[in-house]
Amino acid sequence: MTSPVRPWKRPPTLVRDPRWRRVLQVGIVLYLLLALGSVHVDWLRVWEGLERGQRFVLGFLQPDFTSRWNDIQKGLVESLTMTVTATVAGIALSVPIGIGAARNLVSRPVYLACRFVIAVSRALQEIIVAIFMVAMFGFGPFAGFLTLVFGSVGFLSKLLADDIEEIDEAQTEAIRATGASWWQVVHYAVQPQVLPRLIGLSLYRLDINFRESAVIGIVGAGGIGATLNTAIDRYEYDSAGAILLLIIGIVLVVEYSSSYLRKFLQ
């Protein structure tokens, strides 16, 4: 005797009515087609651009490190200085703001104030901040430094605060029960739980800051980005290629060494 066949199909999860499903599917495809149609492509311009792109790629393949080496070196040193100082200053500011933005440690007004600082910092994209800073403090690495500090604070404080909010409260409770003061609770119960992650995040931010320093240089905030911008403006694609290769190389080195360090610390 054979048991009757019992077919099975996964029941629809989102839209149960098959007619509505059909309408939605057709609608989505139609919208995509119309949207694609509304993008005006000037094929002649694309053709011209291809040629320029080719020159760019060729320059990339034959990078010229020597003829602009002095400018490149100056830009790199400026970028690296900017990156390291901004990361250190960013961490120094982020730790108090991050602690203040952890709901389980501070009173509500402090929490809201610190979260507001973080929200402002995260809402403004680095390039926009850089344009502001350049307008306020003039061209050069100081504007870049301030931009990177501003960005680091938003990034590090938020992630630190979220991390503190997820710590094991039992450990905090035990330290509080010994009669420890607020500072002692932060130092003995909170810090040991979040320190490895804070170090990891700081190394990650160092990495981001270096890449950002190349981007914000283009709007005048100094560093290797400024050198790159000049090279492109002068149609020196071989020098630009050399700069890009150096940036990639340095990002790789920072990436590998920071991931090694993080593993070593945990």
Binding site: Q171, A174, I175, T178, A180, Y188, L195
Partner: protein
């Protein structure tokens, strides 16, 4: 000596965890607090050192009311009360020694504890306590490298390094196996006897409470429904504390556990005899 006068706690959710609980604990007494989960045992312990703020009533330690103390005063009085926790609550990434020394935080200013500059007397006491709980050679290991029983020993040493006048113990054996549970309870009772230290111990394990405690208080729905010597803890009294169904199923579970343990012992003997 601890006196609790009509202590009440209502959580913001409206849940009444404690309803006018009064209790008097003389020096050197081991008081076992039993009751079904949600009866308010943990809340009662935490109201004593104000980890949970009581809504009403007072807590007097050696005649001094702990409710209504300012933050600074509270700190000075909290250090007189040692607490031991269910999940040990050690700071996992600190060393055993740092965990024991953290019992001194209430006595020392921030900068000294920040630089780990503990007075020599505190360090001597910590070594002595670690020797007492049998972990003298583990001082510089990280707390997360220890087993459950060892961690609870460190928890005991931390509480004792406060030189407390009272111990609050919250389900000390809930995360331990039966054998280790008994060892830890024995250690606790010995230490309390040595120092003439009163302790309030939350226990979910009734036989353990009967074996080690001097006095049993049964809590049900935030009210004291039993307060007597362990010998007075009859079938009827337990039904009164836990409710008919819960007590029956608890007893059944206990019997099953005992049976399976006896069975395991018998099999081990068989294997050894072969």
């Amino acid at each position: 000596m601890l006196e609790i006068r009509s202590l009440s706690k209502t959580y913001p959710t409206g849940h009444e965890a404690l309803r006018s609980v009064s209790l008097w604990v003389p020096e050197g007494q081991l008081l076992g607090l039993i009751g079904p989960s949600g009866a308010g045992k943990s809340t009662l312990l935490r109201c004593i050192n104000r980890l949970v703020e009581p809504t009403d009533g007072s807590v007097l330690l050696e005649g001094r009311d702990l409710t209504g103390l300012s933050t600074g005063e509270l700190r000075r009085h909290r250090r007189r009360i040692g607490m031991i926790f269910q999940e040990y609550s050690l700071v996992e990434r600190l060393t055993v020694m740092e965990n024991v020394l953290s019992g001194r935080l209430g006595y020392l200013p921030f900068w000294r504890t920040y630089l780990r500059r503990f007075p020599q007397t505190d360090i001597d006491r910590a070594y002595h306590l670690l020797d007492r709980v049998g972990l003298g050679d583990r001082a510089n290991q990280r707390a997360d490298a220890l087993s459950g029983g060892q961690r609870q020993r460190v928890g005991i040493a931390r509480a004792l390094s406060q030189e407390p006048e009272l111990l609050l113990v919250d389900e000390p054996t809930a995360s331990l196996d039966p054998r280790t549970s008994r060892q830890i309870m024995r250690l606790l009772t010995e230490i309390c006897a040595e120092r003439h230290l009163p302790a309030i111990v939350n226990l979910h394990d009734v036989p353990l409470a009967q074996q080690f405690m001097h006095r049993i208080v049964g809590l049900r729905a935030g009210e004291i429904v039993f307060d007597d010597a362990p010998t007075a803890l009859t079938e009827k009294a337990l039904t009164g504390i836990y409710g008919e169904e819960d007590w029956k199923s608890m007893r059944q579970e206990d019997e099953e556990a005992a049976d399976s343990e006896a069975d395991a012992q018998r099999r081990l003997k068989e294997i050894a005899g072969r």
